[in-house]
Amino acid sequence: METMIRVENIAKGYDNEQIIHPLTLSVYEGEFLTLLGPSGCGKTTLLRMIAGFEEPDSGEIFLAEKPVKDKPPYQRDVNMVFQQYALFPHMNVEQNILFGLQMKKVSKDEQQLRLREVLEYTQLKDFCKRMPTQLSGGQQQRVAIARAIINRPKVLLLDEPLGALDYQLRKSLQLELKNLQRKLKITFIYVTHDQEEALVMSDRIVIMNKGRIEQIGTPETVYNTPKSLFTAKFIGENNIFRQGERVFCVRPENVHISIADGIEGKSATIRDVVFTGNYHKIYMLAEGETTPILTYDYGNQTKWAAKQQVVISWLPESEVTLIE
């Protein structure tokens, strides 16, 4: 795989605060890469440095092997989809989408050709002459994407593009975006704080915390074998255990519970049973411990109830040792 973007020893600070500690990252051609982390972890700053809106204090950024750190945004072959879409309110949908091509003085014929193409991709054909104010949030979001991809950038940067939308719409747009990326074969760098979104869409996930990369890997890797305590807690739900110096986690779905009648394992008391739709969450307190252990019981009926005495067990391979 060709490297599309290489970020080398990039660092950034404001005043006395270090936003990004020197970090290095490669993004491959045609990849859907997600920068995932809580707010303030530096993911948006990293994205903005790639776009050219922020200047790194040190390090270099390579786009298709060429250094771009000193180039202004309008000379970089990347485009961005902004969190609040940042559509131009005084232009209709078509004018918004064509803005980039007009700035680059692309011929009128070519403009129309590409316009038809992206309208097809984004299903915006019927909204061409509408003003942004006359569109729903989801439609505005599509215009923002169309406006960016019509330039055929090498890399598309997306800064929490679904953050402003409601849950149902977000779900369907996640898949739509993923399909679009597959069709276009453009490299996507996607910023989000929503771990579920990251798992659904990404080829690889970069987990960031306090300006550092905690782990890079496929959704399966980061979910099943988190390296650090932070990753283990941030992605999905997890049970964290400490045995002396060793810290490890066991996913709730790997924790087995059975009725307390002499089976080997930790004995515990059920504290809460919570119905979530397609499964029950069961919170248990092991003897002499204060943090509850969580497991899932699938199906819409459950035989478990609060205050019940149970035995908890898991397979040794379910334990994942973590760096603190």
Binding site: A51, G52, F53, P72, P73, Y74, V78, N79, M80, F82, Q83, Q84, A86, L87, F88, P89, H90, F99, G100, M103, K104, P132, T133, G137, Q140, R147, A148, N151, A164
Partner: protein
């Protein structure tokens, strides 16, 4: 709204009726009356006052007034836009200092400020004295009592009315939209032309209407800084009431000016509406 709530508006309503609506009504009535021999108002109906305004003498003053107001508007716009742009870009704490500096002249009496200009510009004034002393000129320059000094005074006086609405517009401008323009390949200049300028149009219109309407009625500046040579519509009205003692004619010109101003203010509301519709997007 209940009855008690309506009572709250009574003082203002009484005040406005007594000191605004009533005098306006009186002026409207007087504008259709005639001037008596000794300058008294004779209550007999005529539209001559209005027709008289369309005589060439007054038409040329109207045209002059419109030209002066237009140039004043353009002048304040060209000066105010870069200033407002600068203020909107600096950190917030420093913005306030700049805005206060823009408004400081309002706290000083208008007449005093106009006479200060006279002191600066007259033939024994500060500028001429300095230029004579350092030998750049041998006879004092005529800096005062011409159209140039009137324009200078007008632009100076009305500048804040342009800076403030422009600042509000620029300050509201979503920075992300500019970034989007850069991202899509626009240079700074083109982003300004295609994004900043159109999106601050409401501020430009509001500022222009404020300045234009204010300059239409301005009579103190042309009086003090223009001398006898410059006569604007405001001066004509002032003369009709004070020297010529022709109240009906003065009233008629005033009514016409009110109509003209009202038309411009209608435009201002159109601009406000436009802005309302277009800022809604940011809240989504």
């Amino acid at each position: 709204m209940n009855k008690k709530g309506k009572l709250l508006a009574v003082p203002t309503l009484v005040w406005l009726s007594l000191f605004f609506a009533l005098p306006l009504l009186v002026m409207l009535v007087v504008s259709f009356y005639q001037r008596g021999l000794y300058g008294q108002v004779v209550p007999s109906f005529t539209i001559d006052n209005y027709l008289r305004f369309f005589e060439p003498l007054y038409m040329s003053i109207l045209v002059e007034t419109l030209i002066v107001s237009f140039i004043t508007t353009i002048g304040t716009l060209l000066l105010a836009y870069p200033l407002a742009y600068y203020i909107s870009k600096i950190p917030r704490s420093r913005q306030n200092i700049w805005l206060i500096l823009v408004m400081v002249p309002f706290w000083i009496n208008f007449l005093i400020r106009s006479y200060a200009w006279v002191i600066i510009l007259r033939s024994q004034g500060i500028i001429n004295t300095v230029l004579l002393k350092i030998g750049i000129i041998e006879i004092p320059l005529n800096l005062l009592y011409n159209w140039g000094s009137v324009m200078l005074g007008m632009i100076y006086t009305l500048l804040p009315f342009m800076v403030l609405p422009l600042y509000v517009s620029l300050e509201k401008l979503d920075k992300q939209r500019l970034e989007a323009a850069y991202d899509l390949g626009a240079t700074r200049l083109r982003a300004f032309w295609h994004i900043t300028l159109p999106l601050t149009k409401p501020g430009i219109i509001i500022g222009s209407v404020l300045v234009f309407v204010s300059s239409l009625g301005m009579f103190v500046v042309p009086d003090i800084m223009g001398g006898a040579k410059s006569m604007l519509l405001g001066n004509v009205i002032q003369n009709q009431f004070l020297s010529a003692r022709d109240w009906p004619f003065g009233s008629a010109i005033s009514m016409l000016m009110i109509i003209l101003s009202a038309l411009l203010i209608a435009l201002y509301y159109k601009a406000m509406q436009w802005e309302d519709e277009n800022t809604r997007l940011e809240g989504d």
